[in-house]
């Protein structure tokens, strides 16, 4: 089912959590709401769920105005960051809860069969009789997902679904959630503050800051063409170098790079550590190596330019370089924004 938000706003006492957000999520799409804490992403999700009401604007499910439909009748599956499993019920009872309280009466055997199917879907066969306290965090979140799916929701909403799990479990669950989504084709909206998670999982990423959408697009679009310095910085490690622009060209410490659509004047170049290179001769921005950090995938140099900026550069693992070496930073790629 298609979801559309039209100029939705929400204020908590004096805090303007969401300021006029319009957004469309196509049927069957998997969309991430990404932003720092306080950016309004969870509030948007809770308004789509009906757990909060919007102060202004409308929310549509398909062609139906769902703005004032209470959560109980909205037909959404909501997965909470801390699972919110009922601790006094077994895993199977948790999953069956939505079917038991539903207005649609189901036979006991029907419910049991559906629970067994869902347990298989989330790969927890045989754990139905356990209690939430007797299974791991990753398993709990899979139970929470099965419970949300049991009521055949029109949309699936996940609030920081992997936030409470450790890195390895997160990565596994991410891939697994993508598989489930592809299998069921259910429209899914999830909230995260982890850019890697959003880029890894979503068809489309919506980046929020201070209650507003700052950019939306496919992971490729937001990574390759960040619309603002904020997006660029939020998506990953970023180096900032100052310079000046004249006539569509930016001069960054002697290196000239393309800067179309940027007005003349002071500019900042934002570049990923991998967008920069290090060489001992041949020109570039003069700098001294402060430290070398060795990582499994390569080496990272911390260098200080003559202008006093500290820069991080990723170089191949076999490059011979030591602290206090002098050389030049080569700018291969980067995004220029007015400073």
């Amino acid at each position: 089912m298609k979801i559309a938000l039209d100029k939705v706003a929400k204020t908590f006492e004096t805090f303007r959590a969401v300021r006029g957000v319009s957004l469309e999520i196509g049927s069957g799409e998997l969309v991430a709401l990404l932003g720092p804490s306080g950016s309004g992403k969870t509030t948007i999700l809770r308004m789509v769920a009906g757990l909060e009401y919007a102060d202004e604007g409308q929310i549509f499910f398909g062609d139906e105005d769902a703005t004032d439909i209470p959560v109980r009748e909205r037909g959404v599956g909501f997965v909470f960051q801390h699972y919110a499993l009922f601790p006094h019920m077994t895993v199977a009872e948790n999953i069956a809860f939505g079917m038991k309280v539903s207005k649609v009466k189901r036979e006991r055997t029907q419910i049991d069969a559906r629970v067994a199917d869902l347990l298989r879907l989330v790969k927890l066969d045989g754990l139905g009789e356990r209690f939430p306290s007797q299974i791991s965090g990753g398993q709990r979140q899979r139970v929470a997902l099965a419970r949300a799916l049991a009521v055949d929701p029109k949309v699936l909403l996940l609030d920081e679904p992997f936030g409470a799990l450790d890195a390895n479990v997160r990565r596994d669950l991410r891939r697994w959630l993508r598989e489930i989504h592809d299998e069921l084709g259910i429209t899914t909206l999830f909230v995260t503050h982890d850019q890697e998670e959003a880029l890894d999982l979503a068809d489309r990423v919506v980046i929020l800051d201070q209650g507003r959408i700052v950019q939306e697009g496919t992971p490729e679009e937001v990574c390759r063409r960040p619309g603002s310095a904020f997006v660029m910085k939020f998506l990953g490690d970023t180096n900032r170098l100052e310079g000046t622009a004249t006539g569509g060209r930016a001069d960054i410490g002697g290196t000239v790079i393309d800067a179309q659509d940027v007005p003349d004047g002071k500019v900042e170049l934002l570049a990923r550590p991998g967008d920069l290179g290090w060489r001992t001769e041949g020109g570039g921005i003069a700098a001294d190596v402060l430290r070398v950090i060795d990582r499994p995938e390569g080496r990272r140099l911390l260098a200080r330019t003559a202008a006093g900026d500290t820069v991080e550069i990723d170089v191949p693992a076999d490059m011979q370089v030591r602290a206090r070496d002098s050389g030049f930073i080569e700018v291969r790629r980067g995004n220029v924004f007015p400073a």
Binding site: R72, H82, F86, P87, T90, V101, S133
Partner: protein, 302 residues
């Protein structure tokens, strides 16, 4: 560091044998002298003039009436205060509203006010010189020196018990469980009875037991508002005092006989609580006992 000295190290911090023995010994001794000894003396004294005297005391119409009045007061006051406690804890922990902090303080007041002050206050609200006294009297309703006054005073004193047990637990549980249940289609009542209540039931039970024990044992507030009319408005604690201040030689024995009934009622409540907990915890293979606040949410190890 030799092997010998490391062997003498306590297994855990603060687990040295000396500390352990001292602490356990201290607690056992104090418990025995402070709690157990008086309890035993009550029963020993109750029978000091023989079983016949004990039987005569507790079957005396005045004592029987006092027992009945105490049980009746508990039967009215405890359910009302339980409902109030659950409602108050629910409001404070699940809603945001103006005056919430004030409500928490108001709930706590009876804890910090001497019961006798509460009794006197009731006297001035419902008494003949009081605020509603004349109105009530002309309407033919007698509050003071009658059952309503006793129930009201008992309820005032025990108002915080259930709420105080529930608020910290429900605060720790947050609103997630209720939100989850509602998003799955459960109605408000269904959510309360299938999700909220099972998760607070042990704290609730404990609050009810404490509330009940206090209602049955309340002396100060009740003694002011009841008027202590023998055979009419004397509750069991008042009857104990009355018998104790009697001039007969057997006064102490009579008082202890009545006191032993009061103690018996308290013991029944405690045993009932333990029994219910056992049964609840043993139900459905290893259903986790929810006596301790189960924070379903935060699990850093997960």
């Amino acid at each position: 560091m030799s092997a010998a000295s490391s062997r003498r190290k306590p297994p855990r911090v603060g687990d040295a044998p000396a500390i352990r023995r001292t602490l356990i010994g201290f607690v056992l001794l104090t418990g025995a002298f402070l709690v157990l000894a008086p309890l035993l003396v009550i029963f020993q004294q109750a029978f000091s003039f023989g079983f016949a005297h004990f039987r005569d005391t507790i079957t005396h119409p005045d004592t029987r009436h006092a027992i009945w009045l105490t049980v009746l007061t508990a039967l009215i006051a405890v359910p009302i205060n339980t409902a109030f406690g659950v409602a108050a804890a629910w409001s404070v922990t699940k809603f945001d509203f103006w005056g919430k902090r004030l409500l928490i303080i108001v709930i706590e007041i009876p804890f910090s006010i001497s019961p006798i002050v509460a009794g006197v206050a009731y006297l001035f609200v419902y008494g003949l010189q009081g605020l509603f006294g004349p109105t009530l009297q002309s309407a033919g309703v007698q509050v003071l020196f009658a059952l309503p006054g006793i129930v009201l005073a008992s309820m005032f004193v025990t108002a915080p018990f259930v709420a105080r047990e529930l608020i910290p637990l429900m605060q720790a549980q947050g609103r997630d469980l209720e939100e989850a249940a509602t998003s799955l289609g459960a109605s408000g009542w269904r959510t309360f009875f299938s999700v909220t209540l099972p998760n607070i039931r042990w704290a609730l039970l404990y609050g009810v037991v404490l509330c009940n024990a206090r209602v049955m044992g309340e002396f100060g507030a009740v003694s002011v508002v009841s008027g202590k009319i023998r055979g009419q408005t004397n509750t069991l604690p008042l009857q104990v005092e009355l018998l104790f201040n009697d001039f007969r030689r057997s006064a102490a024995a009579s008082a202890f006989a009545a006191a032993s009934i009061l103690t018996g009622l308290a013991l029944v409540t405690i045993v009932a609580k333990v029994f219910l907990e056992r049964r609840g915890a043993g139900r459905r293979n290893q259903r986790p006992a929810l006596a301790a606040p189960v924070v379903a949410a935060k699990d850093p190890t997960a």
